[in-house]
C-alpha cells in the first residue's frame, strides 16, 4: 500500500473509532442550548438591582403624576439679552466654561430692512449680547433664550439605547449619568441642539430644569437670576397657576411644532422666524 493511501486508511480507521466515542451533533446542540440558557439566566439573575431600577423607571415614565407636570415659559418681551440665566446655569450645574457647552443660551435675532436675518449667540450670550448691525439697517431685533424643551414625546428618550434618558413622573426629562454610555445618539436626535457630551463625565448633559432645586422647593437657577422675570417655571396641571395663566393669556407657542415632540417650553411673542 503506498504511504499516502496508508496514512489516509489509518486516519479513517482512527476517525471511525473516535466517532463511537465522540458526542453526536444532537448532543452538541443540546449542550450549546444549555450553555446559552445559562448565560441568559445569568444576565438576568446577576443584575437584579439594575433590572429593578429599569422597571421602576419605565413605570414612572408611563404613569405620570396626575397632579404635577412641570413646564416652562419665557416672555420674550421681557428678555433683555443680559445672559445672566446662562451664566447662573453654568455655575449652578458645573457646566464647562468653554463656549461649546450650554444647558441654556440666549440668541439675538436681527431682521434687517432688506428682509435678511442675522442670528448670533457669542459664548451663548453669557457676556451680554450687543448689537452688531448698524441701527439704520435693522427692522426689528429681539432675544430668544433656549434650553431643553422637556418634550412629552421626547426623541432623545426614545433613542437612548440603555434608557439612561428618562422622564420623571412630574414630566422632567433627566439623565442617569451613572448609566449613560455616551453614545451621542440622543444628541443627534434632539432637534433643538440642547444636548452635549460633557468633557468631564464623558456622558450626555443638558438642562434638568434644576430638578435638584425644584425638589427643595426652589426655583431653577436661570429663573432666579433673570433680572426682568422673563423666565417662569411652574406646574402645567395647575389650571389656576401663574404658568398656565400666562401661557393662555399670551397665546404662547412652542418651537418646531411640526416635529410633534410636544415641548413643555412655551414662548410669548415668538416670531415665525425663530428656529
Amino acid at each position: 500500500m503506498p504511504s499516502s493511501a496508508c496514512s489516509k486508511f489509518l486516519i479513517q480507521n482512527k476517525m471511525e473509532t473516535e466517532k463511537d466515542k465522540s458526542k453526536t451533533r444532537r448532543d452538541f446542540f443540546k449542550a450549546s442550548a444549555l450553555v446559552a440558557t445559562g448565560l441568559a439566566l445569568n444576565a438576568v439573575v446577576m443584575k437584579p438591582g439594575r433590572a429593578a431600577a429599569e422597571i421602576e423607571r419605565a413605570t414612572a415614565a408611563k404613569i405620570p403624576d396626575p397632579d404635577v407636570q412641570y413646564g416652562f415659559a419665557i416672555d420674550l418681551d421681557k428678555c433683555i439679552g443680559c445672559g445672566n440665566c446662562a451664566k447662573a446655569c453654568k455655575i449652578e450645574n458645573d457646566v464647562p466654561q468653554e463656549p461649546f457647552y450650554f444647558r441654556t443660551w440666549v440668541e439675538q435675532y436681527v431682521v434687517k430692512c432688506d428682509e435678511t436675518m442675522k442670528i448670533e449667540s457669542p459664548n451663548g450670550g453669557i457676556d451680554g449680547l450687543k448689537q452688531s448691525v448698524s441701527k439704520e439697517g435693522i427692522e426689528k431685533s429681539f432675544f430668544v433664550p433656549k434650553m431643553c424643551n422637556h418634550c412629552a414625546k421626547s426623541p432623545c428618550e426614545q433613542v437612548c439605547p440603555v434608557g439612561a434618558t428618562f422622564r420623571s413622573p412630574d414630566g422632567v426629562v433627566l439623565i442617569d449619568k451613572e448609566y449613560c454610555i455616551g453614545c451621542g445618539y440622543c444628541v443627534q436626535s434632539c432637534p433643538y441642539g440642547c444636548r452635549y457630551i460633557s468633557p468631564i463625565t464623558h456622558t450626555v448633559d443638558k438642562c434638568t430644569m434644576c430638578y435638584h432645586r425644584l425638589k427643595k422647593g426652589l426655583q431653577p437657577a436661570c429663573v432666579e437670576a433673570c433680572p426682568t422675570g422673563a423666565r417662569m417655571q411652574g406646574n402645567l396641571r395647575d389650571k389656576d397657576g401663574p404658568l398656565v395663566k400666562f401661557i393662555k393669556e399670551h397665546n404662547c407657542r412652542v418651537l418646531k411644532p411640526h416635529l410633534n415632540t410636544a415641548p413643555k417650553l412655551f414662548y410669548n411673542s415668538l416670531s415665525e422666524k425663530v428656529i
Partner: protein, 398 residues
C-alpha cells in the same frame, strides 16, 4: 487654552452663519463613518456568498468560502468603532443587558449577535466541519489541537453526516439572506429614523444602505480574491470575475437609481431644509461629486456596462476589475462619510455650518481608524491560513 479644546476653538473660528452653540464639535466622527462601512462590507460579502449557495450561480463557486470568511472577519470588528467612540466604553454591555426597546441602536446589538452567532459562525462551521476533522488527523502538534477544538467534538464524517451538514448549511444561508438585509437595513434605519436631521431622515435610507452595502461587499470580495490569487500565484477564474462584475454592475445601477430618487424627491419637494441641504452638497464636493459620484459610481458603471456588451482581452478586464473594486470601495466610503459627517456639518437651525477635521491621534483619530480597518485583514489572513478554501476536499479544482 486647554489643548483638549483646541480643535473646537479652531472649528468655532470657521463657523459659517448661525449654529446652536452645542453643535460646534461633531459628536460622531470618523469611527462612526467606519461603522456602517464595515457592517456594509459584512452584509455585501455574505450576500455574494449566498448567490452561489442559494441561487446556484455556479460561476461564483471559487469565491464562496472567501466571501464567507471575509464577511466573518469584518463582522468581528464591526462593533469596535462603535465601542471605541463611546464616552463610557466600559458600559457598552448595558446595551445588551438592559436594552431600551424603543431605541434602534439597542436593537442593533441583537441583530448583530444573531448574525454573528446564528448565521456566520454556524455556516462556516458546517462548511468546514468535515475538512477540519480530516485536517485534525493530518496535522500535528498545536494545529491538530486547534482543528480538534474547532470541530467541537463532532468527528462524524460519514456521507450521511456530511449531507446533514450541507442541508443545515443551506438552511442557514437561506435564513442568512434576510438576516444580512436586516443587519444593514437596520444600520440605515438608525440614521433614517432621526426626524431631527433632514439629511438622514428618509424612508428609503435603509434600502439605500442595503444596496450600497451589497455594492461595497461585492467590490471587497473581488479585490480580496484578486489579491489572494496573486499571492498564491494562481490563475484568476475569468468566468468568476465576469460574473462578479455583472452583479456589481446591476446592483450599482439599483444603488445609483435609489440615491437619485432620494435626490430628485428632495429637489422637487424642496422642503424647509432644502436650502441648507443644497449648500451642504456643494460643500461636500470632493467626497460627494468626485469620490462618491464620479469615481465611485459613474466610472465603474461605464466600464462594467461596457464589459456587458464587449469582452476585451483578459488582461485588460483583470486590471479594470481590480481598479473598479478599489474605486467602488472608495466611493462607498465617501458615501458613508457624506451621510455621517455631512449630516452633522449643518446646524439643526438650518442657518449655518460647522467644520470637521479628523484628528490623527486619540480614540477617535485617523490612526485608530486605520488600525480598525487593518485588524479584519489580519483576521482574514489568519482564517485563510487556518481554513484554506483551496485545500477543501470539494475545492481541489480551484
Amino acid at each position: 487654552m486647554d489643548p483638549n479644546y483646541q480643535h473646537l476653538y479652531d472649528a468655532l473660528s470657521k463657523v459659517e452663519g448661525y449654529i446652536y452653540p452645542n453643535e460646534i464639535g461633531l459628536n460622531w466622527g470618523i469611527l462612526i463613518v467606519l461603522y456602517p462601512y464595515i457592517t456594509g462590507l459584512v452584509a455585501g460579502a455574505f450576500i455574494l456568498a449566498s448567490l452561489n449557495r442559494v441561487f446556484k450561480v455556479k460561476a461564483l463557486r471559487p469565491i464562496y468560502e472567501i466571501s464567507l470568511l471575509t464577511s466573518f472577519s469584518f463582522l468581528c470588528v464591526a462593533t469596535m468603532p462603535l465601542i471605541a467612540h463611546l464616552g463610557q466604553p466600559l458600559r457598552f454591555y448595558e446595551m445588551m443587558i438592559t436594552p431600551h426597546l424603543t431605541s434602534a441602536m439597542a436593537i442593533f446589538a441583537f441583530v448583530y449577535l444573531w448574525y454573528l452567532m446564528a448565521v456566520l459562525l454556524l455556516e462556516i462551521w458546517f462548511d468546514y466541519r468535515k475538512d477540519m476533522v480530516i485536517w485534525s488527523g493530518e496535522k500535528k502538534g498545536v494545529l491538530r489541537l486547534i482543528y480538534k477544538v474547532l470541530t467541537l467534538g463532532v468527528y462524524d464524517t460519514s456521507p450521511k453526516s456530511v449531507a446533514v451538514d450541507e442541508r443545515l448549511g443551506y438552511i442557514i444561508t437561506v435564513v442568512g439572506i434576510p438576516s444580512a438585509f436586516l443587519l444593514h437595513g437596520y444600520v440605515g434605519f438608525i440614521f433614517g429614523s432621526l426626524k431631527a436631521n433632514p439629511w438622514w431622515s428618509s424612508v428609503i435610507m435603509p434600502v439605500v444602505f442595503l444596496f450600497s452595502a451589497m455594492v461595497s461587499g461585492i467590490a471587497l470580495v473581488l479585490f480580496i480574491y484578486m489579491i489572494i490569487s496573486w499571492i498564491r500565484k494562481q490563475k484568476l477564474d475569468m468566468k468568476c470575475l465576469d460574473s462578479i462584475g455583472k452583479f456589481l454592475f446591476y446592483i450599482l445601477i439599483f444603488d445609483f437609481v435609489l440615491e437619485l430618487l432620494d435626490t430628485v424627491h428632495r429637489v422637487y419637494t424642496a422642503e424647509e431644509s432644502f436650502d441648507i441641504i443644497s449648500i451642504l452638497m456643494t460643500k461636500l464636493f470632493f467626497t460627494l461629486t468626485i469620490g462618491q459620484l464620479l469615481l465611485g459610481t459613474f466610472i465603474p458603471l461605464l466600464v462594467l456596462g461596457y464589459f456587458q456588451f464587449s469582452k476585451p482581452k483578459d488582461a485588460i478586464r483583470k486590471a479594470s476589475y481590480f481598479i473598479i473594486s478599489i474605486l467602488v470601495l472608495g466611493g462607498i466610503f465617501c458615501m458613508r462619510w457624506n451621510v455621517v459627517i455631512g449630516g452633522q456639518l449643518f446646524s439643526k437651525s438650518f442657518m449655518g455650518f460647522t467644520t470637521y477635521k479628523a484628528r490623527l491621534l486619540g480614540a477617535e483619530g485617523l490612526l485608530s481608524s486605520i488600525v480598525i480597518m487593518i485588524i479584519p485583514c489580519l483576521i482574514l489572513a489568519a482564517l485563510l491560513w487556518l481554513l484554506p478554501p483551496w485545500k477543501k476536499k470539494n475545492m481541489e479544482a480551484y
